[in-house]
């Protein structure tokens, strides 16, 4: 279980989509989401779907992983579809279930909204499936760099994101250990009165918080001992590279967007 936390939803593979610069993927997903919200016609949805499907195929990620990524959302997509079937009261009656008429406009509306949701989630999970959290963090930092001039702490944001990624497995292990240690001292984490349950929670939280903050203080000390002084004069261990592949994908995406607006009317 620990392993899955470090890499998030990332599936390591060697594919053109994995090889793309994280910034390219981030920018494309951002505009894709914007464009999807303005989609109205069937053919414009088809174009968007083809692009996402093309990306999914090129990523060589097993379809099961993609389905797994969509798992928490399936319920909402289906629920939205059904709700729309019953809410919309326009157009011609298509058929009726238990005496409740279903209109053709309702079916169209339901299909549009749920495919919009589906596309949004497919595309965003494609990003996290093919890119490590750490390179998305780097990409966010470089893309938001201009905001530093209005004094937004972009470097601090990216640094804190990477530090917390680093600490997730450590602190999960720590929580495991503490809960076992406290259970061996007789704390009941499973049953009991509300008062006892509350005590059990704090028997876990107090040592956990103290040890976590201790680690944070040690890390800060170690960073300062090595001369950390913000992003001033800092160089990167991992460099993002913009290649010709990125250029090709960008051009392809621009063509897709032009095609989209042409068919969207």
């Amino acid at each position: 279980m620990n392993q899955s936390f470090i890499i998030g939803q990332y599936v390591p593979k060697e594919s053109p989509v994995h090889a793309l610069d994280a910034r390219t993927k981030l920018v494309i997903v951002f505009f894709y989401v914007l464009v999807t919200f303005s989609a109205e016609t069937l053919s414009s949805y088809l174009i968007l779907f083809l692009f996402a499907a093309f990306g999914a195929v090129m990523s060589r990620v097993h379809p099961l992983f993609i389905v797994k990524g969509l798992r928490p959302i399936w319920f909402i997509i289906i629920l939205t579809f059904i709700l729309h079937l019953f809410i919309q009261r326009q157009g011609e009656v298509l058929f009726s279930i238990f005496g409740y008429a279903i209109y053709d406009q309702a079916v169209i509306q339901a299909a549009i909204i749920s495919s919009r949701l589906f596309l949004l989630i497919l595309m965003t999970s494609l990003l996290t499936l093919t890119t490590t959290p750490i390179s998305i963090t780097d990409a966010v930092e470089t893309l938001l760099k201009p905001l530093k001039s209005i004094k937004l702490p972009i470097h601090e944001l990216a640094l804190m994101m990477s530090i917390s990624l680093r600490f997730i497995p450590t602190l999960i292990e720590e929580t495991d250990k503490i809960s076992k240690a406290q259970a061996s001292r007789g704390i009941d984490f499973r049953t009991g009165k509300w008062r006892d349950r509350l005590k059990a929670i704090f028997a876990l939280l107090i040592p956990l918080f103290i040890s976590a903050f201790k680690r944070a203080e040690d890390l800060a000390m170690a960073m300062e001992a090595r001369g950390y002084r913000g992003d001033y004069g800092r160089t990167k261990f991992r460099e993002l590279k913009f290649t010709s592949l990125d250029l090709i994908v960008f051009l392809l995406f621009i063509i897709i967007v032009i095609g989209f607006f042409y068919f969207n009317g």
């Binding site: 998030g8 939803q9 990332y10 909402i76 709700l83 729309h84 809410i87 509306q109 909204i113 949701l117 989630i121 990003l127 996290t128 499936l129 890119t131 959290p133 998305i136 966010v140 530093k148 004094k151 702490p153 470097h155 601090e156 944001l157 804190m160 994101m161 530090i163 917390s164 990624l165 600490f167 997730i168 602190l171 999960i172 495991d176 809960s179 984490f189 499973r190 009991g192 509300w194 349950r197 509350l198 059990a200 929670i201 704090f202 939280l205 107090i206 956990l208 918080f209 103290i210 903050f213 201790k214 944070a216 203080e217 890390l219 800060a220 960073m223 300062e224 002084r229 913000g230 992003d231």
Partner: protein
Amino acid sequence: MNNQRFRTVDLTMGAVFVVLMMIGANLAYWVPALKITYAGGEVPLTLQTFFAILAGILLGRKLGAFSMIVYLAVGAVGVPVFAEMSAGIANLAMPTGGFLISFVFVAYISGLIIEKASNNSLATYSFAVFGGLIVNYLIGTPYLYFSMNNVLGVPISMYGSMLTMLPFFIKDAVITGLLAATLPSFVTRIQRVSPSLRSQ
């Protein structure tokens, strides 16, 4: 200039709090006592809101709010830090995403109340905790309304969304109230051993 805003130790403290937040959101995994039986199924309670309030109390309003922004960002890039180990930008756009986004303001308000208060009595903590909880719902509920209407396209009235959230609010108010009672001793114990927290 820029470097003076946060000390190095602030950055690491805030980062570690993001992980604590993740553990708080999924605490039922370690503490099965947090699972309550409701309507035939087991519903794990999450302590997310309480942890967001703690972020404000322990780290102060600025750093607390900032570490909540980092929490959302880490979740958005695909690391399963949200409740029930979920992740992704979609979580933020969904109807309940407003509650996640509100954590930033929850931490800020709770931190502000603690910073402005003259003493650290139970009354101050209760005020900070319920202030945070109210902000949580004050942002979360209209967002639910907005997201239902605009993202899912399901028309729902403001009154309807308020009614939907009412049972959850009562549940949260009870849990947070219970936890608030233990806060004064909790916070002093943590602050005693973590010297860099006190200088906030």
